[in-house]
């Protein structure tokens, strides 16, 4: 039997495999490059970029909890110009699709950063972060308010020809509604999901463990929630879905594919094992071979129920 084909074309972007690394967990490329062959990633999604540089939240910014991490980095980033100047030239050297996660504090901010990045060479797609629970200046509501969400997708769609991938907030009861809005507004794919609003308290000091008080829960703890969201959204829309949440192994990733994801992204797992995305891709190949499936497409959305 020939080796199964795990290459995909997602939102028009050819990828060697369907395993990407998730925004905010892999920096801008150079950080993990000494440990991971970037050209072997399905795609590299860089940390959220805003029109201007942004300092993010005070520290502490992350805290470990049972099978998870809560983060409130607060979207620290060098801004669009800083990214284009300091990181994109480095990334261009690798044969890997670069997806830029973007956000703004206003609708105009989203449009501005989308427009600016669309002029650059070497960006494969834009991922729209409307779901980060950390930023105080209003970005939060873009992801959990249907009307705001619709407007921000429309505004960025209007200014870019790049594939547009809204990343949905983990709204456990209304994910289908948001997925349909994104599809109707011309999104090319969806990323599901971001970290889940959460908090932890230091009981001795009676202070929050994060300077920002609340943050987003990621890691194995949220995987069953994320799989559920992908499954719901896949029933609601036809555009492809990138499944994200607590993926540490091929077995974890396979749950997402079977639930309806066309690709996955590895997030928090990178901190424990930087090569997780590569071992997941290898494991997918093995699984397909073992199950006599010729390609990953044959698996997507095959949940029997």
């Amino acid at each position: 039997m020939t080796t199964p084909d795990i290459s995909i074309k997602l939102a028009g972007i050819p990828m060697k495999n369907p395993v990407m690394v998730a925004s905010g967990t892999f920096g801008y490329g150079p950080e993990y490059a000494p440990l991971v062959d970037l050209a072997k990633l399905g795609a590299l999604v860089v940390k959220g970029i805003s029109p201007e540089p942004w300092r993010g939240n005070p520290t502490p910014r992350t805290v470990e909890v049972a099978s998870g991490l809560i983060n409130a980095i607060g979207l620290q980033n060098p801004g669009a110009e800083g990214f284009l100047r300091d990181y994109l030239p480095f990334l261009r050297k690798f044969d890997v699709p670069v997806i830029v996660n973007i956000w703004g504090r206003t609708i105009e901010g989203y449009a501005a950063v989308a427009a600016r990045l669309s002029q650059a060479e070497g960006i494969a797609a834009l991922e729209l972060n409307v779901s980060c629970p950390n930023i105080k200046e209003g970005s939060k509501s873009f992801g959990s308010n249907a009307d705001m969400f619709k407007r921000v997708v429309a505004a960025t769609r209007a200014v870019t020809k790049l594939p547009l991938i809204p990343k949905l907030a983990p709204d456990v009861f209304r994910i289908g509604e948001f997925a349909r809005i994104a599809e109707a507004e011309g999104a090319d794919a969806l990323a599901i999901t971001n970290s889940v609003p959460a908090m932890a308290i230091d009981i001795e000091t009676r202070r929050p463990k994060l300077a920002n008080v609340t943050g987003g829960l990621s890691g194995p703890a949220i995987r069953p929630i994320a799989v559920r969201l992908v499954w719901e959204a896949a029933k609601a829309v036809k555009i492809p879905i990138i499944g994200i949440g607590g993926i540490y192994s091929a077995a974890d990733a396979l749950e997402f594919f079977i639930a309806g994801a066309s690709a996955v992204a590895v997030g928090t797992a990178n901190f424990l094992e930087p090569t997780t995305a590569l071992t997941v891709a290898d494991g997918l190949r093995d699984y397909l071979a073992r199950h006599k499936l010729g390609s990953i497409h044959e698996l997507v959305g095959t949940l029997a129920c």
């Binding site: 905010g24 150079p30 950080e31 993010g56 910014r61 992350t62 805290v63 049972a66 194995p220 930087p274």
Partner: protein
């Protein structure tokens, strides 16, 4: 910087509540510079999603030795790992201490807690000999004094309960020494320990016109500069500040760089 799967050669108590963990790490060990650290994936730590950072105590003959204290869940689980067991490391990480010390400078090392382990490799690698100040709550908290003495370094000890050395904070004997030697010596400070101690040493360096290399201890996520967990406020040239990643641009910063700020500093 590398990912290396290493095996435990030796694992035993080392006094002062610390355990010594000796690892066969032929790839990472030769690269380590003093003040750098390794990010350790603790075996069988099921419900934890992060590695744990530890300074390098010794690095020679393809071996890495760490000294650590069980302070929480991760280190307690690490404490029962047996020789022969496999451990995954990322390292060496961080910038480390500068070693290009002018020949006329006297290295003055100041340590609290595991800081003694972190500074030992520096003492070993520095061309000139110097002096070490070690602080702790009690005699049980003062680590590897004999190791420094074996290198021919003079160790001054302060304990808060007076059970060993001078009673009080380490700044006591440090200030006394400084007063005595500031005219005949050109000191350069290297410190690793609690923030309050780092701040005190830094303040003295700035006041005296010397340099102080401070190794800050921040909680770490990735350890490689990707997650922005471990950031420290540094002074910018224009009077404002910017974040530096202590895992990447640090953990060692010169005293003048750091903008201490009670609010944001982690314990």
């Amino acid at each position: 910087m590398q990912l290396e799967t290493v095996s435990i050669i030796e694992h035993r108590d080392y006094g002062a509540g610390y355990r010594l963990l000796r690892l066969a790490a032929p790839q990472i060990a030769p690269q380590v510079r003093p003040g750098q650290f390794v990010h350790v994936r603790i075996p069988r730590l099921e419900a934890s999603v992060l590695r744990r950072p530890f300074s390098v105590f010794k690095a020679e003959n393809g071996e890495l030795t760490l000294l650590y204290k069980s302070v929480g869940h991760g280190t307690s689980v690490l404490a029962v790992a047996a020789p022969g067991e496999i451990v995954s490391l990322i390292g060496p990480l961080g910038n480390g201490f500068p070693l290009d010390l002018p020949a006329d400078r006297t290295p003055v090392l100041v340590a609290g807690g595991y800081g003694m382990a972190a500074l030992y490799l520096l003492a070993r690698r520095l061309p000139q000999k110097g002096v070490v100040f070690a602080g702790g709550r009690s005699t049980q908290d003062v680590l590897c004094v004999e190791d420094f003495e074996a290198l021919g370094w003079k160790v001054h000890i302060a304990t808060q309960d007076g059970s060993r050395g001078v009673r009080g904070l380490v700044t006591g004997p440090f200030d006394a020494w400084l007063a005595e030697h500031r005219t005949n010596l050109a000191p350069e400070f290297f410190a690793c320990g609690p923030n309050a101690m780092l701040q005190e040493i830094g303040a003295r360096a700035i006041a005296g016109g010397w340099r102080a290399w401070l190794s800050v201890d921040r909680h770490m996520g990735c350890g490689v500069g990707a997650c922005l967990t471990c950031v420290v406020k540094l002074q910018d040239t224009d009077g404002t500040w910017f974040w530096a990643r202590s895992c990447k641009e640090g953990p060692v910063f010169e005293a003048r760089q750091i903008r201490w700020n009670g609010e944001d500093d982690e314990a």
